[in-house]
């Protein structure tokens, strides 16, 4: 035993980790360096923010239930659309997948923990301060950011103190994401069990490796963009002010250089989850593993060169529009490879339809639809008609909700037994799936019609002709929201062991990977001696 004098950090306890002393109660969660603890905190934080962002969505839908202004005033409505976007993207979906990464990557790679366990804790504990800043911004004079989650100037340069709070929240979220990504990338590159070559890694690890790269490359750019807004607001710079030689459109270029890869930062880990679950319930290995890896990398690279397809209507030379249109359409190729591989994985498989598989199938159908509407929007002449209409809203909610969120649900049902040691109630899980699926489509499918008919987004009132489908959409939204409270109930029942069915080490007979070689629930410390992968 080495003695480390004056070392406050180390308990310096014995070799048997089962008797390792660690703080209990609240202190355990505040100071933990355990990837499973941190993963759980990420997931609970994500769900909390999902509810907060969800309430904002329901306020939006309540206002839009009928034409005219009846529930909130327009300023508050704008704050709701902006905060809903920011909170769902940065507070709910991204932390959910970081939570899965924290829980599962060390288990999948055969590592004892993440590469930087203390920094891992900091990555998580930066999220609550960012959430505090965002929520506080609603209660200051002038209210929170009301210019949309994209925070375009000149509106954001003119707004009140709430915008400053939002800018610093974004900075802190960025710091959290960068540290988390460096941790994940280092864990994947350096902590794999002996014998696990890169091309033997589970797809979830592959997608996170590439996602982490995207985050490290783009988050600092977002930080730069909001810093320019901050200095334009307070220090007299003119980055986004034409009178001083700047250009508000420049912000859009910088923002979307971050913003488009951000779409794949959210989507790629979801692809990874689906690539784990479809083979498990088809009882066949993933079809075309290598092409999956290359397709993921291709999507990531292409995501850096298509950003201005978000800006067709804000002013661009014709040649630029042509380039961004064709480059964007190119993304359909690797994405098509992925969808083909998923279908081929199921082809002649011995398929059973447990809840994780149902959510994956829901993902497959609905995400592909969202991809197709994306292809429609990539066409410049069409986008000029549809830009900032509800068609766009429908499109990205098919990608974000039916894509990323459904795959997050699938992941909770698939890995939940490993975390809790108990099976969830299969019947309730299936009800959650069908309830979510139907409510989702009732909410968002009509928005395609609304958008094609010309209803603009981010406006609290609308023409009478849009009334019927808006009422339908609002009813669907409340049904979808309720379904997620039901989901919370299912998860709490699973944690409490109310299903009465203990989870075996490998509850899914088609599942593969090191995570199923450890008992359920996974012990506090796993793989202290790395397993050997043949």
């Amino acid at each position: 035993m080495a003695s480390i004098p004056h070392d406050a950090v180390h308990g310096g306890h014995g070799h048997d980790d089962q008797h390792d002393h660690h703080p209990t109660g609240i202190k355990r969660w505040l100071t933990t360096t355990n990837h499973k603890d941190i993963g759980s905190m990420y997931l609970w934080f994500s769900f909390t923010m999902f509810i907060v962002g969800g309430i904002m969505a329901l306020i939006i839908r309540a206002e839009l239930f009928q034409p005219g202004l009846q529930v909130v005033n327009p300023e508050f409505f704008n704050q709701m659309t902006s905060l809903h976007g920011l909170i769902m993207v940065f507070g709910a979906i991204m932390p959910a997948f970081v939570g899965f990464a924290n829980w599962m990557l060390p288990l999948q790679l055969g590592a004892p923990d993440m590469a930087f366990a203390r920094m891992n804790n900091w990555s998580f504990w930066l999220l609550p301060p960012a959430a505090i800043l965002l929520v506080t911004s609603m209660f200051v004079p002038g209210g929170s950011v009301a210019a949309g989650w994209t925070m375009y100037p000149p509106l954001t340069v003119q707004q009140g103190i709430g915008m400053d709070l939002t800018i610093f929240a974004v900075h802190i979220l960025g710091a959290s994401s960068i540290m988390g990504s460096i941790n994940i990338i280092t864990t994947i590159l350096n902590m794999r069990a002996p014998g696990m070559t890169l091309m033997k890694m589970p797809m979830f690890a592959w997608t996170w490796l590439i996602t982490a790269f995207l985050l490290i490359a783009t988050m600092p750019v977002l930080a730069g963009a909001v810093t320019m807004i901050l200095t334009d607001r307070h220090f007299g710079t003119t980055f986004f002010n034409a009178a001083g030689g700047g250009d508000p459109v420049m912000y859009q270029h910088i923002f979307w250089f971050f913003g488009h890869p951000e779409v794949y930062i959210i989507a790629l880990p979801a692809f990874g989850v689906v690539s784990q679950i479809l083979p498990a319930f088809s009882r066949k290995p993933l079809f075309g593993y290598h092409s999956m890896v290359y397709a993921t990398a291709s999507i990531a690279i292409l995501s850096f060169i298509v950003w201005a397809h978000h800006m067709y209507t804000t002013g661009m030379p014709l040649a630029g529009q042509m380039y961004f249109m064709f480059a964007t359409m190119l993304i359909a190729v690797p994405t098509g490879v992925k969808v083909f591989n998923w279908l081929a994985t199921m082809w002649r498989g011995s398929i059973t339809l447990e809840t994780p598989m149902l959510f994956c199938l829901g993902f497959l159908f609905l995400f592909t639809m969202g991809g197709f509407t994306g292809l429609v929007l990539s066409l410049t002449p069409v986008d000029i008609q549809l830009h900032d209409t509800y068609y766009v809203v429908a499109h990205f909610h098919y990608v974000m909700v039916a894509g990323a969120l459904f795959s997050a649900f699938a992941a909770v049902y698939y890995w939940g037994p490993k975390w809790t040691g108990w099976m969830y109630d299969e019947k309730l899980g299936k009800i959650h799936f069908w309830w979510s699926l139907i409510a989702f489509n009732v909410t968002f499918f009509p928005q395609h019609f609304l958008g094609l008919a010309g209803m603009p987004r981010r406006i609290p009132d609308y023409n009478l002709q849009f009334a019927d489908w808006n009422a339908v959409s609002s009813i669907g939204a409340f049904a979808f929201g309720t379904a997620q409270i039901f989901f919370l109930y299912i998860v709490i029942r699973m944690i409490a062991g109310k299903s009465g069915v203990r989870a075996p080490a490998k509850p899914w007979d088609g599942a593969e990977g090191l995570e199923w070689t450890v008992p359920s629930p996974a012990p506090y410390h796993t793989f202290e001696t790395p397993p050997v992968v043949k």
Binding site: W122, I172, T186, T237
Partner: protein, 286 residues
């Protein structure tokens, strides 16, 4: 977990629970509120900012102190060393991307927004705007002179390039086990960095007083001061890193095999150096 208590470092190192991350979060939250308050001229702004900064300093000393003790206690094996190398590389990459945003803004302003304001569809707004660089924009009507490249900036370039050489000499001295040579050349490197910063402060004063070049001097002032300012901030951070390494060297830390902290600080210093070369060409010369 047990790896941390073996005589020889285990393959992995998993630290015990630590309160430093939480302290760091408290620091950033306080700093954020303090910054918002002081930027909006609220009376509590600056005090809160100062408190946040204080908490941050406590966290930095405490956390890095713990890491230094663990490193000197030889708790980090080869695997941890590789992890540090990966993480520092990716951190520097993230810094590169941060600067890329500001270089991109400069490029966009020079190649697109300023020419468009003079010749594009928006030229009708300010018909007498020539659109030549440098400019404070069509409406600000600021008269200023840009910073010439061949005075202080050229000297600063020489200083930073030289500091890269002195740092490498220090590194070789460390590998060769020549402690006093290491300390001398490391101190020389820091001195060059400090002189660089001093000259930059002089340059800024000159810009404000003699050239009428300010942060608010349109797009030229914005890009000039934000790019050189963020670079200067990074030089400051790099110099602090090197100063810590110097203090540790004087206490006998590091040996020929075991000195990644030195290398990490050196990588960072070289990164700052390369950014300056980009700045010198794009901001000062072109």
């Amino acid at each position: 977990m047990s790896a941390s208590t073996h005589d020889t470092p285990g393959k992995y190192f998993v630290p015990q629970p630590s309160h430093w991350p939480l302290v760091g979060s408290a620091a950033l939250l306080t700093l954020a509120f303090g910054a918002v308050g002081s930027m909006n001229s609220l009376s509590w702004g600056l005090p809160v900012l100062a408190v946040g900064f204080g908490i941050l300093l406590v966290m930095l000393f405490g956390w890095f102190g713990a890491v230094v003790r663990e490193s000197e206690g030889r708790l980090y094996g080869k695997n941890v060393d590789t992890s540090f190398r990966w993480s520092m590389s990716w951190f520097i990459f993230s810094e590169v991307m941060f600067f890329a945003a500001f270089f991109g803004a400069l490029g966009y302003a020079r190649l697109r927004s300023v020419p468009d304001l003079a010749n594009g569809v928006t030229s009708m707004l300010w018909p007498d705007f020539a659109g030549t660089w440098p400019t404070a924009g069509p409406h600000l009507k600021e008269v200023f002179s840009p910073m010439g490249a061949w005075g202080i900036p050229a000297i600063n370039t020489a200083l930073l390039l030289t500091s890269g050489v002195t740092l490498t000499i220090a590194h070789h001295a460390l590998i060769a086990g020549k402690r006093s040579k290491l300390i001398t050349w490391l101190a020389a490197t820091i001195a060059l960095g400090v002189v660089f910063l001093g000259l930059q402060i002089y340059e800024y004063i000159h810009a404000y007083s003699a050239l009428n070049l300010k942060l608010s001097t349109g797009i030229f002032g914005s890009t000039f001061f934000m790019l050189t300012g963020f670079h200067g901030f990074h030089v400051t951070v790099g110099a602090i890193m090197l100063a810590v390494i110097l203090a540790r060297s004087m206490r006998g830390h590091f040996d020929a095999q075991h000195h990644f902290a030195f290398e990490a600080a050196a990588w960072y210093w070289h990164f700052v150096d390369v950014v300056w070369l980009g700045l010198f060409v794009v901001v000062y010369m072109l």
